[in-house]
């Protein structure tokens, strides 16, 4: 039922492969590696790729990966156990080959695992099949057959399960005739210890219930018992005539009962109180109760004693564990990493990384480190910190090329403008950073057309007009051979943004501008009509670059913003592969000292690179991301 099962080393060599179908398994496995392992989403161990579900397991000690793939529509329950079994068997069988540092042993070794694997697969499949319906027990096997027949004889008018109090009398009468029956009916009022047990020496369920009931009644004092007994004894006497019913709680108009003037310290209540106290203190009247208390007190006595030696043992163990952890090679287990990972997670959250992303990151790091053998003189903390640092740098590395100038040159050659769209929520700095980027482009000799598609905010067009005037003063046409380097394209307020963008791009193509920067209005990610409008702008105009502008001050909001923006763009796009956010501009970076977690959150969610970083409010404050510096600031205590 499996499509394939592969075992390969982390260095890329396939050690063994089982293929149930004829398709090669490289494609899905590569997709798994690229989307999960390399993007630090290794928290849970399953991944869906087209029609297949892939489950994987990492062996960090020997740097192996075990991957199994099966059809998504099947839900196989034995797969997890199968992977664990295969892992264990493979590791034990080929321990010498996989233990070497050099790759030569892996290359030269032959891994003839087919038979073992088929055997394990067969075992796993069989164990998961539905168990055969249990056959009914034969009569000889049941408990009833073991009891003597006499114990089960029931005579009319007497049920073995009657309450002890009422049956006591009847039992006393009939004691001679039914020996075994009477033994099971002892009266609690007699203060005798309960019989050892019925003759056959077996406690049936009913007797157990009865015994418990008796204990319960014993514990709750005799008073109630006596009254109920007397009541019950009254009832049969008066069975002849229909007596008026006496409700227990109905109250009675009896004058003596209602007279509370008598002193409370009379015989009965006090005795009851003293009994209660005795019961509370735990030295009960009946032997039965005593037994229970003894055993419980024994337990209490034993428990603190066992706690003390374990406490001393744990301190000793802790000391040795620390020393052992410092020297020598021990492999990491989850418990070891637990506390360190918790601390790292809190540290990341304190540095403004979104909470669930910090959780996922720590999960992924734990997955990568589990079972790894630490070198000498490296503590758990240092290993975990090192691994976390590597994963953070890995996340911040761009997955695709980030070179806007190169792409603009390409577009120049093809005689069409390079269109960049800025989108984001309100007040993150879209217009300011647009001005910074146009300044940078002008410095590099490209002509820029700014399209004012923010037709909503008061003063948006005027703001861009001011920027254009200033940039134009810095780069006048005379310096560039009579060519206007920067121009604003605007159509006032209240118009449709997508239409303005389309006209702007056509204008740029006619006039030979190199770059078109489209400024859109800020919008909240929950505002459906505005998101639809943005998606329409992007779908209709197909810009070369869609930049999401996000501020570095944002915390958990970043996740929500990016997810909803991407979803809106994907939903409203007609194309096969919808245009999503291509890059991120991180603004207001100078306002955070080292709480740089927003960078991690944003790149983790979208897997798109951070193209620009805005570090101030003047034209020169534009930087590109340096992954190492950001991670260093993040990991700093």
């Amino acid at each position: 039922m499996l499509d394939f099962f592969t075992i390969f080393s982390k260095g890329g060599l396939v050690l063994w492969c089982f293929q149930g179908v004829s398709d090669s398994c490289t494609g899905p496995v590569n997709a798994l590696i690229r989307s999960v392992l390399l993007q630090e989403r290794g928290g849970n161990n399953s991944f869906t790729h087209e029609a297949l579900t892939l489950k994987y397991k990492l062996d960090n000690q020997f740097e192996l990966v075990f991957v199994v793939g099966f059809q998504k529509i099947l839900s196989l329950t034995y797969v997890d156990k199968l992977i664990d079994d295969v892992h264990r068997l493979f590791r034990d069988k080929y321990r010498t080959e996989i233990q070497q540092q050099s790759a030569l042993s892996l290359l030269n070794g032959t891994f003839d695992f087919q038979n073992d694997f088929l055997r394990l697969l067969r075992e796993a499949e069989e164990s998961s099949k539905i168990r055969a319906p249990t056959t009914m027990k034969k009569f000889e096997d049941s408990e009833k057959a073991k009891k003597p027949v006499r114990s089960m004889i029931e005579t009319r008018g007497e049920k073995p399960k009657e309450k002890a109090k009422s049956s006591k009398k009847k039992g006393a009468k009939k004691e001679g005739s039914d020996g075994p029956v009477a033994t099971s009916k002892a009266a609690p009022a007699e203060k005798s210890s309960l019989p050892v047990g019925p003759e056959n020496g077996e406690l049936s369920k009913e007797e157990l219930i009865r015994r418990k009931r008796e204990e319960f009644i014993q514990k709750h004092g005799r008073g109630m018992d006596k009254s109920s007994k007397s009541m019950k004894s009254d009832v049969p006497k008066e069975k002849g005539k229909k007596a008026p019913r006496v409700w227990e709680l109905g109250g009675c108009a009896n004058k003596e009962v209602l007279d509370y003037s008598t002193p409370t310290t009379n015989g009965t209540p006090e005795a009851a109180v003293s009994e209660d106290i005795n019961l509370i203190r735990g030295t009960g009247p009946g032997g039965q109760l005593q037994d229970l208390d003894c055993s419980s007190s024994d337990d209490e006595g034993a428990a603190p004693n066992s706690a003390k030696p374990s406490a001393t043992k744990s301190t000793l163990g802790g000391m040795f564990g620390m020393l052992k952890g410092l020297v020598g090679s021990k492999s990491l287990s989850r418990e070891d990493m637990e506390s360190v990972l918790d601390k790292m997670r809190d540290h990341l959250i304190a540095k403004n990384v979104a909470a669930d992303i910090a959780v996922q990151l720590c999960e992924s790091v734990a997955n990568k480190l589990e079972g790894k053998v630490m070198g000498t003189f490296s503590t758990v903390t240092s290993t975990v910190k090192q691994a976390l640092q590597e994963s953070l740098v890995q996340i911040l590395q761009p997955q695709r090329r980030v070179d806007m100038l190169r792409d603009i040159m390409d577009a120049q050659r093809r005689q069409r403008p390079y269109v960049v769209t800025f989108c984001g929520v309100n007040g993150v700095g879209k217009s300011t950073n647009l001005a910074k980027i146009s300044f940078w482009l002008l410095e590099n000799g490209f002509s820029v057309l700014i399209a004012a598609c923010d037709t909503f905010r008061a003063g948006a067009v005027e703001q861009l007009r001011t920027h254009t005037r200033r940039l134009s003063a810095l780069h006048p046409p005379e310096k560039h051979g009579g060519r206007t380097m920067v121009q604003l394209f605007e159509k006032g307020y209240g118009k449709d943004a997508a239409g303005i963008a389309m006209e702007a791009i056509a204008f740029a193509r006619n006039q030979g501008f190199d770059v078109v920067l489209v400024d859109t209005a800020g919008r909240m990610q929950d505002n459906a009509p505005l998101m639809t409008a943005l998606a329409k702008l992007i779908t209709v105009n197909t810009p070369d670059l869609v930049l999401f502008v996000g501020e570095a001050l944002v915390g958990n909001e970043a996740v929500d913003q990016l997810v909803k923006f991407n979803r809106a763009l994907a939903d409203h796009s007609m194309a096969q592969t919808p245009r999503l956010i291509d890059g991120i501009v991180l603004t207001k970076f100078d306002t955070i000292d080292d709480k740089v977690g927003a960078a991690i959150s944003m790149t983790y969610i979208t897997s798109k690179p951070i193209v620009f970083v805005g570090t101030g409010q003047t034209y020169c404050d534009l930087r590109s991301l340096n992954a190492k510096a950001v991670v260093a600031a993040l990991m700093k205590a």
Partner: protein
Amino acid sequence: MATVNSRRVGDGGGAGGTFQPYLDSLRQELQQRDPTLLSVVLAVAVVLLTLVFWKFIWSRKRSQRAVLLVGLCDSGKTLLFVRLLTGHYRDTQTSITDSSAVYRVNNNRGNSLTLIDLPGHESLRLQFLERFKCSARAFVFVVDSASFQREVKDVAEFLYQVLIDSMGLKNTPSFLIACNKQDIAMAKSAKLIQQQLEKELNTLRVTRSAAPSTLDSSSTVPAHLGKKGKEFEFSQLPLKVEFLECSAKGGRGDAGSADIQNLEKWLAKIA
């Protein structure tokens, strides 16, 4: 004896006051002709020095014997690695970590090199390059000749990075650009790849130096490749860059041998 000592004490009283007691004990030992403490100290010092020297020499010998296989994802580095070491064909997946092995060069001196195969995935390649570049004796940049036309910008960007890094090393390593996957019909020749890369690197060095500076404002001006003002050519670089064609898969697919004789000869040359 005692008077001499006391006079000496008086003389050296000013300078080295703190070490006086030690110096005294040292002198006493020397005079007693029973220098146990001194000999022990000397012996320990000699042993330490020997260890330090040995480690230094040994690490120097080992440090520069590594040949790094770098390149984009899916360019065939791991298969090339396998072919060089064993000559057989193995299935490969995307590498997540590096693999290293000792490779015996087939020349008459029988030298050995450490072949290190680095992952090519975008998120890993720079990290691993950082880690291993100090011990690199030579770089082998593997290019997928069949899909080169599509990926020329990515190839050029990574090549630019590797060139900048290798020029920054104190001993200039040898550089080889291996145009792999020549068994596919659409593969470009080494000459064409060289021309395309030169053109691309020409543009790239302009755009990379014009990019906004990095965050920590460590205003290190990125090194300029080649000569300014002239079209970029590989011959302008301080390190020697060669091109050759090879095919890790070989003409006859899995069963046949790989077409890597040129590569083996080059490795024998630089060993």
